[in-house]
């Protein structure tokens, strides 16, 4: 049979970025075709072009043997293409049914929605694919896995024969990934073609029939899973050996820098999201916190930094009870912080770089002289950060908005490191930055560690956690469920602790 989709020479440029550079891709009918690549490789862009959400600058698209030009997603939907986006596209305040039928509502006279018909159709679809859902439930009340099911049903409801799934596993726990894969295989059996984006090589190898690798906007290879190993794939993705974080010797001292004693953090509904957590971090030590996202790491970090109130327990910084200190006081005591979401918590996008570099340190030199904000000092420090952390920017007067994501991240890490902190709280410090910069951050962390900095490192990158940490703790549902030695633990082990497959070895 022919190809379901044939893309040839697709290019897409954004201001300053070539997201897709003459990409070609052929997807056979009825296969599961995985697309992988680094962050920013252009995967989502390509898929959005295929789905009509973006228009390619150049290139040809052939769907089902016919050349097409999409002007909006409706055009793609009409040809049986459906897409599940990287970020959920669901309105919390809509019911499942409303979310599903939106844009394709069965109507009676006067534009009345025929809810009865819609519900019947929804039931039919969900039954035939074994995806059960409560049609009248508000999406607000659904779990992540359920939401994903809604997304998939949304696509199936429209009778899509070609499904695009953009990083569907990113938010799922392994159990849910299993379920998802089962569903995908079902779909394949019933004749669907599936395009599937993923970063996790093991998953790709497990499910894909064909794999296409993108790098810097170009197609670098199309391979069959049986012909490659994970390491091969990784090399295809980044163009070289993956740099591995390694630490040299131990610099752990006996002076405690951070002590967390039975800390509990409650969410808005008074449920514990961090549940009775205790640990110590010494000067010269890196404590890695591993865990599937959403298991309390973010809240724990907030509690350490002071942006979230601790309901029970204590946080001690350099021996002093800092539980009730505000952020500024903690920062002045030598704490630095790389937030996990740089745009939300790290940067002033509309402000020039030198104002960004002052943020969090504005009460101390070189940013302040008496009551005055020291612009000269701030600019000088910014130049330093730019140089030392290789922030690629024409000058330091541009707004943070105009930097690429990786450079934004480098700016944030650089500003925090430049303050020579004694305590460093880093949430995903290398997320979204290129290989060279990644190695650089690791090197900086190592140097600071040697100089006595105590680090709390939260990361989703298991290699990073294992390679950088002196001690690893694993968080699951708000509790510390394991303390592990990085020298002996494997990523596979770590993964099973994170998903709760292992019983906790040491109670937290």
């Amino acid at each position: 049979m022919g190809a379901a989709i044939e893309l040839t020479g697709i290019s897409k440029r954004f201001p300053g970025v070539v997201a897709n550079d003459r990409v070609s891709l052929t997807v056979e009918e009825g296969e599961i075709h995985a697309i992988c690549g680094e962050n920013g490789a252009g995967k989502s862009t390509l898929m959005k072009i295929l789905y009509g959400m973006l228009m390619a600058d150049e290139g040809r698209m052939v769907v089902g043997g016919k050349e097409v030009r999409f002007r909006s997603p409706s055009d793609a939907i009409d040809l049986g293409i459906g897409m599940v986006h990287q970020h959920f596209m669901l309105a919390d305040q809509f019911t499942v049914l409303e979310n599903v039928i939106l844009g394709d509502e069965p109507t009676r006279s006067l534009g009345r929605i025929d809810f009865k018909k819609a519900r019947a159709h929804l039931d039919e679809v969900s039954k035939s694919y074994g995806l059960t859902l409560e049609a009248d439930e508000l999406v607000e009340n659904l779990s992540v896995g359920e939401r994903q099911r809604v997304e998939i049903i949304k696509v199936l409801y429209r009778g899509a024969k070609i499904l695009i799934l953009d990083e569907p596993t990113a938010v799922l726990v392994p159990q849910e990934v299993e379920d998802l894969f089962r569903n995908l295989r079902e779909l394949k059996k019933s004749g669907a073609t599936i395009l599937f984006i993923d970063h996790k090589l093991q998953e790709i190898l497990a499910i894909a029939d064909t794999i296409t690798v993108l790098r810097q906007g170009r197609t670098v290879a199309t391979v069959k899973p049986k012909d490659v190993t994970a390491a091969d794939l990784a090399e295809l993705m980044v163009g070289s050996e993956l740099p591995t974080p390694t630490k040299v010797g131990s610099t752990v001292t006996d002076r405690v820098a951070v002590e967390v004693r039975g800390v509990t953090v409650l969410d808005a509904d008074e449920r514990p999201v961090v549940d009775d957590v205790s640990f110590e971090v010494h000067h010269g030590e890196i404590l890695g916190i591993a865990g599937v996202e959403g298991n309390g790491q973010a809240e724990l970090v907030d509690a350490l930094v002071g942006t979230r109130t601790v309901s029970r327990g204590q946080v001690l910084l350099k021996g002093e009870d800092a539980t009730n200190w505000n952020v500024r006081r903690r920062r002045e005591a030598g704490l630095a912080y790389v937030p996990q979401d740089r745009q939300r918590e790290g940067l002033l996008l509309v402000a020039p770089l030198w104002e960004n570099v002052a943020l969090g340190h504005q009460t101390r030199p070189p940013f302040v002289k008496g009551i005055w904000f020291d612009r000269k000092g701030a600019r000088a420090r910014t130049e330093e950060v730019r140089r030392d952390f290789d922030v690629r920017t024409p000058n330091i007067e541009v707004t943070a908005h105009s930097l690429s994501g990786g450079n934004q991240q480098k700016l944030v890490v650089g500003r925090e490191m430049a303050s020579e902190p004694e305590i460093f709280i880093a949430a995903h410090p290398t997320r979204g930055i290129d290989v060279g910069a990644q190695a650089q951050v690791w090197e900086d962390l190592r140097q600071a560690r040697a100089a006595g900095m105590a680090t709390v490192l939260v990361s989703a990158d298991l290699e990073e956690i294992i390679g950088m940490s002196d001690t690893i703790v694993v968080m699951l549902r708000g509790k510390i469920v394991a303390r592990l030695d990085p020298d002996t633990v494997t990523p596979r082990d770590l993964g099973s602790y994170m998903t709760g497959a292992h019983l906790p070895k040491e109670a937290g």
Binding site: G52, I77, M89, A91, D92, L102
Partner: protein, 421 residues
């Protein structure tokens, strides 16, 4: 108990709330020294109705914009355009033309807001404020040419115009039906003078006696708006623009178009409200006659939790003290309203106390005590009270309830096609 109440169907909830309101009013007026009957009279509800309609229209206007994610504090300006356009339309084609042109006048304001906020991505508040400043200047200028030549017209006012016909509903209030005078059911029951029951019928009769067709049409818009927003394709697509525009876009819904629609409808309704003021309340266009009703409409929208029924209740809540105070020839009705506030605050205090919200309970209790003292120490209320009362009421209610309100998630956010977040 509240939960069980919330589970009732909408019509039952609204009737129960209305009955409760009238019950409280009956008590309050019975307690007023010397006794009163007028708080629940048909005149009271008639006046309330007249004074509520523009607020209701403004609130419904706000609803359509904000459901599409566009905050519209330009309602005031759009009402101003409506007052002027209504008068202009009347002078060039009579009352129905006034309705139409008033609607169009407001819609032009809405369109301007949409162009600024949707196409040019101007901050919603900024654009709204600009429209509020622009509108009065514009109509003053236009009046120079449209009205200043005519008899009775000037740069600040139009010649006299008239409203739509008044009707009295057959059977309910004894209106004529093809020349036959029907029985007056509500009137008869009121005549029996039974506590509470007669209060209810008297109050209801105010909705049926001598009401303008314009008023009736506006009231009909409430269920129509609810139906449109919750039950139709139009509404579903409008709402996605306010809740999660990117999701809508990803399913082929043109979000810009939704926002344009919502904002233009918003302006049109506000314009209708303006036309109502000019035609039905004032009898001509006159500079400054909107008097903040656009802002009150916005408050009604929030108070009504972005729902048509809620907006209706809020509009009544605002219209009632205004209407009552105007018909209050001896100052005692307004005084009785003080007691109403005491009752309301006391209820909040009790509920807060039972929910263990101590600060709220003390705050509400303290305020209730303050108003009670005021009530007991005076015999009439000052003239300014009705002007300030509705605003104070909204603020008080928001102080205790703003956490319970839920506005459309993406309300007020600038949406750029192709940009996530």
């Amino acid at each position: 108990m509240l939960r069980r109440f919330a589970a009732l169907p909408a019509w039952a909830r609204y009737s129960a709330a209305a009955a409760l309101g009238i019950l409280v009013l009956s008590f309050v007026q019975a307690l007023e020294p010397g006794g009163l009957e007028r708080l629940t009279s048909e005149n009271a509800s008639g006046a309330m109705l007249r004074w509520s309609v523009p607020i209701l229209l403004a609130g419904l206007g706000g609803l359509f914009a904000e459901r599409a994610g566009v905050v519209n504090i330009g309602l005031e300006g759009m009402m101003v355009l409506g007052t002027w356009a209504g008068a202009y339309g009347y002078l060039h084609g009579g009352p129905w033309m006034a309705v139409l042109v008033g609607l169009l006048g407001g819609a032009v304001g809405g369109l301007l807001h949409a162009i600024a906020t949707v196409t040019f991505k101007v901050d919603h508040i900024v654009s709204g404020v600009a429209i509020n400043i622009l509108a009065p200047g514009l109509v003053r200028f236009l009046s120079q040419y449209a009205f200043a030549g005519a008899s009775g017209g000037s740069i600040t006012q139009s010649p006299v115009i008239h409203g739509l016909p008044l009707v009295t509903v057959p059977f309910l209030a004894g209106g004529d039906l093809f020349g036959w005078k029907t029985p007056d059911i509500l009137g008869s029951i009121t005549g029996w003078n039974i506590f509470f029951l007669s209060d209810i019928t008297a109050f209801m009769r105010g909705f049926a006696v001598n009401v303008s067709i314009f008023t009736l049409l506006t009231l009909a818009m409430v269920p129509a708006a609810a139906w449109l927003i919750w039950k139709t394709r139009f509404g579903l697509r409008l709402r996605i623009a306010g809740e999660h525009p990117v999701a809508g876009e990803s399913l082929g819904v043109n979000i810009y178009w939704q926002k344009y629609k919502g904002t233009v409808i918003s302006g049109a309704l506000a314009g209708l409200g303006g036309a109502f003021i000019a035609m039905e309340l004032t009898g001509f266009y006159r500079e400054g006659q909107v008097q903040g009703r656009g802002f009150i409409g916005l408050a009604a929208l929030i108070f009504g939790n972005w729902r048509p029924g809620g907006v209706l209740i809020a509009a009544f809540l605002f219209g009632y003290p205004f209407g009552t105070a105007l018909r209050d020839l001896d100052g005692r009705s307004t005084h009785a309203l003080l007691l109403l506030i005491v009752v309301g605050l006391a209820a909040i205090a009790v509920v807060s106390f039972r929910r263990a919200k101590r600060v709220d309970a003390i705050l509400a209790g303290g305020m209730a005590a303050g108003f009670l003292v005021w009530y007991l120490l005076t015999e009439t209320a000052p003239d300014w009270l009705p002007n300030a009362l509705p605003f104070a009421t909204v603020l008080i209610v928001l102080v205790f309830a703003s956490q319970r309100l839920r506005m459309p998630v993406a309300d007020g956010r600038i949406y750029v096609r192709g940009e996530e977040l």
